[in-house]
Subunit: 288 residues, 2 copies
């Protein structure tokens, strides 16, 4: 069986641990019967751990109940950059292994239900946990929006990104995020209403700056380069720019120039949102 | 000049101090030149303070810069029940006095920007304060949704309702509300996706129960009576039920029965959302 799932940007500023946006970069997992476990990987993350410790193997063995599997992973999604590569991998591996609930499996084993939701459903999603299960809704997304992802050549494991966050916060900061999330969802539903303040956040982005000190200046460069709004992609270090129709190439060039000017090795890509999410059985053709 | 504005339910569960929904109950303010200040009031709140301390007088005098005004207020919105009567009054009074910015005036003098946003714009709104100014967006609202408001015959001033809230909260509680708000906005955009968990909240509703101990049982009765979801309306004591198309009368009867069974004097009304917001110069006909 073969399955593919899109990358995703989670959080989107105010929607911490909740919102995610599926992006047109894919990971594909193919699983066939074998006499013993074989793991092969191509593309992004290739060769990092081609054995039973590979997330695709953990997920597939969990679903199948045995390890007599040949697993092939092909990926366009950079690893540990905040683009949801592990969630997309877990979702695709669970589906390719025959799971009827790839979202639940991915959330349980990989632990990123927000990214996994976007990888399964596509588009703009909101996820939360209700009585131990992931509940996902799809929110209105203006199909004309374009996006630029700035991808620094450094990894930022989600775990250390999360340890930087305080356990207690002021009530006013929680209200701040609720208000910005309302603005953001209105702007993502109709780009004409998107304002740069819509991605402001007080729950995570500022606490993570010590892990990536150039982030504020790079976000400012994305806005100066023409983005409607910009935010961290997941726990970073990738940064996401939300762009008006027809402007993503201009913003991408500004992003690339900003990386060079600030001497941050990395790349910037222009992408559209993915609207299909997980696809089982016909996905090979989607890899670019 | 004459202006009218709708009632509103703010918060809607998770969207504390942010979301509000305009409802088809109106307040109307008429202002004419006079030799000295005259305040008349009819309907809900009539005669409570027909003098310079009336909110309509404070707002109109602020806007006009003098008090040579005859102000008539006609209202269908119960006072101090959590239905945004003061915000609707402030908005209508500011507009009737000729203000070009009724929202800003109402937020400054009355202090409820979330309710005022819905009273000005109509429909489902999200408000936040950016650099001291109220910023409002309108969010997708399924026009087929119906609503029931349960209005206990007791007042619950917003000030004491707010003093019950803690200044610091757990980060997980903030995330909880963001996740529920995502669910709620998806369900208000399309009622088929509305689940009862979408109005759950950890920032305000539970802290306010001591001020209105019957609230949890009444909310449960609204859901048992057929509501898709139920929540406090603003700071209470009114409670709002969000209902599937064609079910509001059934839910209203269940609400009325629950009030009687629990010996809470009050009434329940079925209403639709208002989609027009503030109307200047032609509003007299809208009062029921």
């Amino acid at each position: 069986m073969i399955a593919s799932a899109p990358a995703s940007s989670a959080n989107l500023g105010p929607g911490f641990d909740t919102l995610a946006l599926a992006l047109e970069r894919y990971i594909e997992v193919e699983i066939e019967p074998a006499s013993h476990l074989i793991v092969r990987s191509e593309g992004e993350g290739a060769g990092l751990s081609d054995n039973a410790t590979h997330l695709a193997a953990k997920v597939a063995v969990d679903v199948a109940g045995h390890d007599r599997l040949a697993i092939t992973v092909r990926s366009e999604i950079p690893v540990a950059r905040g683009m949801g590569s592990s969630a997309a991998l877990a979702v695709a591996a669970a589906a390719a292994a025959g799971s009827p609930d790839p979202l639940g499996v991915a959330a349980r084993i990989d632990g990123h239900p927000d990214n996994a939701a976007a990888s399964v459903v596509g588009g703009l999603t909101s996820a939360c946990i209700i009585k131990g299960s992931v509940r996902v809704v799809r929110l209105p997304l203006d199909e004309r929006l374009e996006f630029v992802v700035m991808i620094p050549e450094r990894t930022l494991p989600t775990k250390s990104a999360r340890q930087a966050l305080p356990e207690q916060i002021g009530r006013e900061d929680a209200i701040f995020n609720l208000g910005r999330m309302g603005m953001l969802l209105a702007g993502l539903a109709d780009h004409r209403f998107l304002a740069k303040e819509a991605t402001q956040d007080r729950l995570h982005q500022n606490y993570r700056i010590p892990l990536f000190p150039e982030a504020p200046d790079l976000l400012a460069a994305l806005e100066a380069g023409g983005a409607l709004a910009a935010c961290w992609s997941g726990a970073g270090p990738s940064l996401l720019a939300i762009c008006e129709p027809g402007t993503s190439e201009k913003v991408r060039l500004a992003a690339q120039a900003a990386l060079e000017e600030m001497k941050v090795p990395g790349t910037a890509i222009a992408v559209k949102a993915d609207h299909r999410g997980l696809v089982v059985g016909e996905s090979a053709r989607r890899l670019h």
